[in-house]
């Protein structure tokens, strides 16, 4: 199968070490290593500039675009830690993304089971449809979704937005979940079948306990995607008190002048913390992120 059925934990082979041990043309290899390491470090430093700026600006009282902070302050954080600016958008985001993720994961598990276990003429076409929809640009369907939501009165509804987020994440969720489920051996399942368990009991008691890592990966992946999604809530929600953090960062950015970049940076950091933490959990599970590329490789 194209997408690997289970996360691989791959160690990068220390090619450089081996070359050094061999000792042939040792000096040239050593110079090469210095150049490689040096250029990667320089590159990393450049790459890091915007991130460092955000950290510095968040503790900078004057909120300028400079890379220096004369006197660090916690005032920016203190000013944004209130219901309107931080707590409610974060809670809204948590409700919609949490609800959407839950719905998406439950539907993916249920859908993955027959797709992984039963042969049918419809199975392949269905799988290819699912895979096909993972590639469709969701951005492009947002205008018709908006028109549709207007007609059925779901505009500015957090429940409607949650449902749409779940549906949009579903193709990828089903695809990943099915691949993880393919990795669970059938032997145990057959034993339970002979003892008279039905499909749902087998799924719940045998298959799921064996694929928790996969379920967690899909859950975290789905949540990170939804948490960062800006366009969907931006189009479907109108009332300021219903907006999630992704949209409120944007309104913050467009509504305030330069003097408040410190606060905006502070808010951006708070908004980003959940996904960064979740990514760290994910990376640890998948062995340093390399296997993540493998799982997505196709």
């Amino acid at each position: 199968m194209a997408v690997t059925s289970s996360p691989r934990t791959v160690r990068v082979r220390p090619a450089a070490d081996r070359q050094a041990v061999r000792g042939r043309s040792g000096r040239r290899v050593a110079t090469g290593r210095v150049v490689v390491n040096g250029s990667l470090l320089l590159f990393s430093a450049l790459y890091l500039v915007p991130l460092v700026w955000m950290l510095l600006a968040s503790v900078n009282a004057h909120g300028s675009f400079k890379l220096t902070v004369p006197s660090p302050t916690g005032a920016n954080f203190r000013q944004i830690l209130n219901t309107d600016t931080t707590y409610r958008p974060m809670l809204n985001g948590l409700l919609m993304c949490g609800g959407g993720t839950l719905l998406c994961v439950v539907c993916s598990v249920l859908a993955a089971y027959p797709l992984s276990r039963f042969r049918s003429r419809l199975r392949r076409p269905f799988l290819y449809t699912v895979l096909f929809s993972t590639g469709l640009p969701i951005t492009a369907v947002m205008i018709p979704v908006y028109s549709m939501f207007v007609q059925v009165n779901l505009i500015d509804s957090m429940a409607g937005t949650t449902l749409f987020l779940a549906a949009a994440a579903l193709p990828f969720g089903i695809w990943l979940m099915k691949n993880f489920m393919d990795g669970v051996p059938l032997v145990l399942e057959e034993a339970a079948r002979i003892d008279g368990a039905n499909a749902m009991q087998v799924l719940w008691r045998i298959v799921l306990p064996l694929m928790w890592p996969g379920v967690i990966v899909v859950t975290i992946f789905t949540f990170i995607g939804m948490w960062g999604n800006f366009f969907v809530p931006f189009i479907l929600l109108l009332s300021p008190e219903k907006l999630p953090a992704s949209v409120s960062v944007f309104t913050f950015l467009s509504a305030h002048d330069q003097t408040q970049y410190g606060q905006l940076s502070a808010f951006s950091i708070i908004y980003s913390i959940p996904v960064v933490m979740l990514y760290l959990v994910l990376a640890r599970r998948l062995g340093g992120g390399f296997a993540l590329g493998g799982a997505l490789k196709g």
Binding site: A2, L40, A57, L122, P137, I143, A168, G228, V249
Partner: protein
């Protein structure tokens, strides 16, 4: 193996059994049908109407008017060109090349350097889109970090977001998205048999020749898959551009998603905006179909 699970209820009729077994698919199918297939069907329908946001004049079927109008509309043509520049510049050339270069260099680097580089690159990728857009805005802004660095190096500065806005959003997308290509290529390089590379080295091939003649041919499937996936991702980028420039100044960064949004919601032309969305959808669908074909070939 599977047949024993499939024929668990042999006394039941085949059709009924099949239907019951398929039941767990139902919630997913309903969600997908209502919220994805529905809007896509609507998209096709609306694209041929003159629907407006205000709904004042009612909605009429107008045939291909929206499309003939689009192809005669210099703003639409501008959006198509910018989308091409954005996709080719930031994904096909930028992310892809940089991701490959990083993966190749990281294989040769010391362990701590490798860890630092991958952490930094992945950090930019993990950040939410809007935050990345804001950080890139701050980076390219007239009084931003880029100009501060250039001033420190005594190099000429300029107001990047006005003079070279499309370059700024391309670099922003490279900054944000390279991690994906880097991860794909790191995994792919791991699967390259070391003996092949060493054999080429013994035969006297230099580093460039080894990359071109040995490594790239071995990982060509990953290259194709990666190109497809990043093209699809870049095609639908909206938040990054919208936070940085809102399509401006003028329409200098108005790629198709931004143009579509402006037409539908700023100019209230839902029908026209949907026609643009349909163009985007069809292009995405074509790429997606090619991608599946490639996976299918790999499987057989």
């Amino acid at each position: 193996m599977t047949t024993s699970a499939a024929t668990a209820g042999p006394r039941r009729g085949r059709a009924v059994g099949g239907l019951l077994r398929g039941m767990p698919l139902l919630p997913a199918v309903v969600l997908l049908a209502v919220f994805l297939a529905g809007p896509i069907a609507y998209c096709v329908y609306y694209a041929f109407t003159d629907m407006q946001l205000t709904g004042a004049s009612g909605t009429h079927f107008v045939g291909f008017d929206n499309f003939t109008r689009a192809f005669g509309d210099s703003d639409f043509v501008n959006a198509v060109v910018l989308t091409l520049v954005f996709v080719v510049g930031s994904a096909v050339v930028g992310q892809n090349t940089l991701g490959l270069a990083l993966a190749v260099l990281m294989e040769k680097a010391a362990r701590p350097v490798r860890a630092v580089t991958s952490t930094v690159v992945i950090a930019a990728w993990v950040l939410p889109e809007v935050v990345a857009g804001y950080l890139m805005y701050a980076f390219f802004f007239q009084q931003g970090s880029l100009n501060a660095i250039l001033r420190g190096l005594h190099l000429p500065q300029q107001n990047w977001l006005y003079t070279l806005p499309i370059l700024a959003v391309c670099i922003a997308n490279v900054w944000r998205g390279t991690a994906f290509s880097m991860l794909v290529y790191s995994a792919a390089l791991n699967d390259v048999p070391q003996e092949l590379v060493e054999a080429a080295e013994v035969d006297g091939a230099g580093p460039w020749q080894r990359l071109w003649r040995v490594t790239l041919p071995v990982i060509r499937r990953s290259v194709m898959t990666n190109l497809m996936l990043i093209t699809l991702q870049t095609l639908s980028v909206f938040g990054l551009i919208y936070t940085m420039t809102r399509g401006g100044p003028g329409n200098k960064t108005e790629t198709l998603p931004v143009f579509m949004y402006q037409q539908a919601f700023t100019s209230s032309l839902i029908g026209y905006g949907t026609a643009v969305a349909l163009v985007l959808l069809v292009v995405g669908a074509l790429f997606s179909a090619v991608y599946i074909r490639m996976l299918k070939m790999e499987e057989d």
